[in-house]
């Protein structure tokens, strides 16, 4: 049932092999909740400053500065404030939050407690994707333990700070990973992202000031509090400090999780850690950060896995889900799977997204069937262009970027389909 622990570990995952780490006793035995104790003795302003200095960026896909996000929360009292933990991990190729929830639920809670103190939030809603039944049970057990031990509730760790945690399970909708889609879902509605303004820090969960952070993001926080921002900056690159847990999938010998510093070259992840492509084949392309991030061709695997470098290659770190495709792979088939996913998961609000995702998928399928025409390739790009940057949330961009990536690096695959009027990759994965 449980995931295998990461093949390469660092501070986040070093104790994951120990089943007891998921229990309160086991977590405390490894120094758990000491950082939270320390945080409660620190002023919220200093904590936010510390997290800002650490350079921690959100690990949910957008990579926004966590400290800055926390600082947007109003401090004028008045309304109750909420923290929201985004455990709706649904990005294809991404499965790191799942292991954090399963193996280190108390670490998630400790990060939440520190964030709650820093932002003055009275309650945290942890939104766990509906399919994650086991991770949600692990987390619930941890929450129950924490209440029983006085870590949550009216007097957090013996202080005067009160904090409650509610776990809510989603019900199968990728868009609820978008922070305002999540807020809508939390409020019992369809998970349709909200138009902005207002932003969550002013009008978030149940209309109250709220901050939404990803599971892994919270997990880094206790380590930063315990060891300082300089220590944290000792990992990763100057602009992208810390480690992340890369999830490697697809055509590799050893798919799995690898906790590595940001900036680790993609080729090191694929060839050293995941041990390269099986069956003596070569890499054709790699999606570096979950399915919504544009693919890179084999020639660009030297890129360090940090946004400042990935952006130069017109892609992003996203959630760190590395998907490897070998030389047999038909990129049009990959395009079919990708565009089907976004068509299936579009919430349907905005015109460009609702109609564009469907159109992209229909064109992809037609090209794969051998019924494509040369101008279809330009239409694909044109439609993707019409979707990008035009909608309420970034979902339409996420649907457009992978198509643009495929066309940028593998246009010849598409052209061959059109020329031969069939798929020229008989060895490719089945569709």
């Amino acid at each position: 049932m449980g995931l295998t622990v990461p093949y390469v570990t660092s501070y986040l995952s070093e104790h994951f092999a120990d089943d007891a780490y998921a229990t309160l006793d086991g977590y405390r035995a490894r120094g758990g909740y000491e950082a939270a104790q320390q945080a409660l003795r620190t002023s919220p302003e200093d904590l936010i400053e510390l997290v800002k200095e650490s350079g921690l960026q959100g690990r949910g896909g957008a990579g926004f500065s966590t400290g800055l996000k926390w600082s947007f929360m109003p401090t004028d009292g008045g309304k109750p404030k909420y923290l929201v933990c985004n455990a709706d991990e649904s990005e294809p190729g991404s499965f790191k939050d799942r292991i954090l929830l399963e193996r280190a639920p108390h670490k998630v809670l400790e990060g939440i407690l520190i964030g709650a103190w820093a932002t003055g939030s009275e309650k945290t809603f942890i939104y766990v994707r509906g399919e994650y039944a086991f991770p949600a049970r692990q987390l619930q057990r941890a929450v129950d333990e924490a209440y029983a031990a006085g870590i949550l509730g009216a007097k957090v760790l013996g202080s005067d700070f009160a904090h409650d945690v509610v776990i809510m399970r989603g019900a199968g909708a990728y868009i609820c990973g978008e922070e305002t889609g999540l807020l809508e879902s939390l409020e019992g509605r369809k998970g349709q992202p909200r138009k902005k303004p207002p932003f969550p820090a002013q009008y978030g969960a149940f209309g109250m000031p709220s901050t939404v952070n990803n599971v892994e993001t919270f997990c880094h926080v206790p380590h930063i509090v315990a060891n300082g921002s300089e220590w944290f900056r000792g990992f990763g690159t100057e602009k992208s400090p810390g480690t992340t847990i890369f999830g490697v999938s697809g055509h590799v010998v050893r798919p799995g999780l690898y906790e590595l510093p940001l900036g680790t070259p993609l080729e090191e992840i694929v060839f050293e850690h995941a041990q390269g492509v099986p069956n003596g084949r070569t890499v054709k392309g790699v999606i570096p950060g979950g399915m919504s991030m544009p693919i890179l061709p084999a020639s660009q695997l030297d890129v360090p896995m940090a946004n400042e470098h990935l952006r130069e290659r017109k892609t992003m770190l996203g959630t760190g889900g590395v998907m490897v495709m070998d030389e047999t792979t038909c990129m049009v088939r990959a395009g079919c799977v990708i565009t089907y996913f976004f068509r299936d998961e579009s919430c349907g609000q905005c015109t460009q997204c609702r109609e564009g995702t469907g159109w992209l998928h229909k064109i992809m399928e037609r090209i794969e069937r051998g019924a494509g025409t040369p101008d279809d390739l330009d239409i694909l790009l044109d439609v993707a262009g019409k979707m990008e940057g035009q909608t309420i949330c970034a979902f339409a961009d996420a649907a457009a970027w992978p198509v643009q990536g495929l066309m940028r690096h593998f246009r010849e695959d598409f052209e061959e389909h059109v020329r031969q009027r069939k798929c020229p990759f008989p060895e490719s994965f089945e569709l």
Partner: protein, 529 residues
């Protein structure tokens, strides 16, 4: 207030408004500043999903939707740039890939925002080779509306309308992505007193009213501004006319009266204009007790003779006068003059009562009861008492609201009155008691003003000309006064001149006349009656 610039327009706008709201407030939206939009509607919650209203705002890296962007002092907005043009083109192309190309058989053709905007902002040719989405056609949504799911562009105005205005919320958007469809809950219907508004706000031909469906192409219709006569709300309407016939009412926006709505009942009252039960000629009751067609001159002479007999024999105390709340202020001003000239006391107003609601519908089922009261026609209780007590020998009655169950009911009490002169537009049991019947015009057939329940004076004008004999009450009464030989009655009736003189008769009308009220009306002075 905030100062903003939109293209070449410098505007002072209210803080807290969004750009589209501010443009709408200024009367510039699609009327000087073209920002096409589908999901935004001035009277519904902001949705922000159609993405058609994107504009360029200085300082924003990306285009912003005008419907949801709050104005800020110093904001500079451009609505006609290349980036905006491309964005609009994109939305239009994407909306059209799944929209059926059935305009030749679509009832919305001619007033379809998809057609209009495709022409204005579209690319001009279709690039899609994929089959269009196949969905339900001609869905019977309820008693009033038919829905074509394939034509729907999911702007969700109808969904918001049902939740926000009648608060019945029959419609929902089910599924998601490009499988999204609008439907009702299983086993329930779109059935509320305002249901037909969804057809008005539907920018495409997805929602159409059963009543208007396939009747006439809209480009044959001439729209005449008017007022609904279904109740005292005085909702502003466009009368869709062709071939001297009114084909429909659609609400005409008036933020002081009905915003952009009208109730279904009121909407359907257009049918009363050309209905088969109109009184189509003057009539006189013969010796044999049978009502027969007569010339207007004969009917007026007979009416004058009957009134004169009573006045001469018994005096004005034996004459009862009942004003109609359906007549215009101008008509009633003439009645007022007549009543005063004859020294008749206790001239009253009869108004049929019915249901009301919190939205628009008023209990008084007539368009001008407030105007009648402002002109001194009051409660009918005393008059009815005199009538029942046999004190009345003659009755001059306008309209048949007396038949309201709270007043005369079936009208048997009239049987003993020696002379009943009836001025009315539609047949009713009142005619059984009438000795002289004079056919009147509907508000859609004359110049005049009507005063709604809140004291707002609004004007009407002839949208159609009755194909039979009918006159406005004012004209009939002016002629009757002349036939009675009353001073100051020359038999002529100029409604706009009477309108200008209304203030002399009732100060509340001072400066509030047909010309000055314009097409959106003006309130009576000091709130009216």
């Amino acid at each position: 207030m905030a100062s903003i610039r939109v293209d070449d327009h410098e505007l002072e706008v209210e803080e807290g408004r969004t750009l589209l709201q501010a443009l709408d407030d200024a009367g510039l939206l699609m009327n000087g500043v073209d920002v096409p939009h589908y999901c935004w509607h001035p009277k519904l919650a902001i949705d922000g999903s159609c993405r058609l209203c994107q504009v360029e705002i200085e300082g924003f890296p990306k285009l912003q939707i005008a419907c949801n962007t709050p104005v800020k002092d110093g904001m500079v907005v451009r609505t006609q740039t290349e980036a905006v043009r491309r964005a609009r083109e994109g939305v239009m192309e994407l909306l059209l890939i799944n929209h059926p190309l059935d305009c030749p058989i679509c009832d919305q053709a001619g007033e379809c925002k998809l057609q209009d905007y495709a022409f204005e902002y579209g690319v001009g040719q279709s690039r899609t080779r994929e089959p269009r989405r196949a969905l339900k056609k001609s869905v019977d949504l309820g008693p009033t509306i038919v829905f074509d799911q394939e034509r729907c562009i999911l702007c969700r105005r109808c969904v918001r309308f049902c939740r926000e205005v009648p608060k019945t919320g029959e419609l929902g958007v089910f599924n998601r992505g490009d499988q999204s469809v609008i439907e009702t809950f299983p086993g329930s219907e779109l059935d509320n007193p305002y249901s037909m508004n969804v057809a008005d706000i539907c920018p495409v031909g997805a929602l159409t009213t059963k009543d208007f469906r396939f009747k006439i192409r809209v480009w044959f219709l001439e729209d005449v501004p008017g007022v609904c006569t279904g109740c005292a709300a005085g909702c502003n309407v466009w009368l869709g006319t062709a071939n001297n016939k009114v084909y429909r009412y659609v609400p005409r926006r008036n933020d002081a009266v009905n915003e952009t709505w009208i109730c279904d009942h009121g909407r359907m009252t257009y049918q009363q204009i050309g209905s088969a039960d109109r009184i189509a000629h003057p009539a006189l009751r013969g010796e044999d007790g049978i009502l027969r067609a007569a010339s207007l001159d004969d009917a007026l002479a007979e009416a004058a003779a009957r009134l004169r007999r009573v006045l001469d024999a018994t005096g004005p105390g034996a004459l009862g006068v009942v004003a109609s709340p359906h007549a215009s202020n101008e008509d009633l001003a003439v009645l007022r003059s007549l009543v005063d000239a004859l020294a008749v006391e206790g001239a009253a107003l009869a108004v049929r009562q019915g249901d009301s609601d919190e939205i628009l519908v008023q209990a008084e089922k007539a368009a001008n009861a407030t105007g009648a009261r402002a002109l001194g026609f009051g409660d009918p209780a005393a008059l009815l008492e005199r009538l029942r007590g046999g004190a009345l020998e003659a009755l001059l009655v306008l309209g048949h609201d007396l038949l309201d169950p709270a007043l005369l009911g079936e009208g048997d009490a009239l049987d003993g009155v020696g002379s009943v002169i009836l001025l009315d537009s539609h047949h009713s049991p009142l005619e059984r008691a009438a000795h002289v019947v004079l056919p009147t015009r509907h508000a859609a057939e004359k110049f005049g003003t009507l005063t709604n329940h809140a004291g707002r004076v609004q004007r009407v004008r002839p949208a159609v000309e009755p194909a039979w004999a009918a006159w406005s009450e004012g004209e009939l009464l002016a002629r009757l006064g002349a036939a009675l030989g009353l001073p100051d009655f020359d038999g002529k009736f100029d409604p706009r001149a009477v309108s200008r003189a209304l203030g002399e008769r009732a100060p509340a009308f001072d400066g509030v006349d047909w010309d000055s009220v314009g097409d959106e009306g003006l309130p009576l002075k000091q709130g009216g009656a």
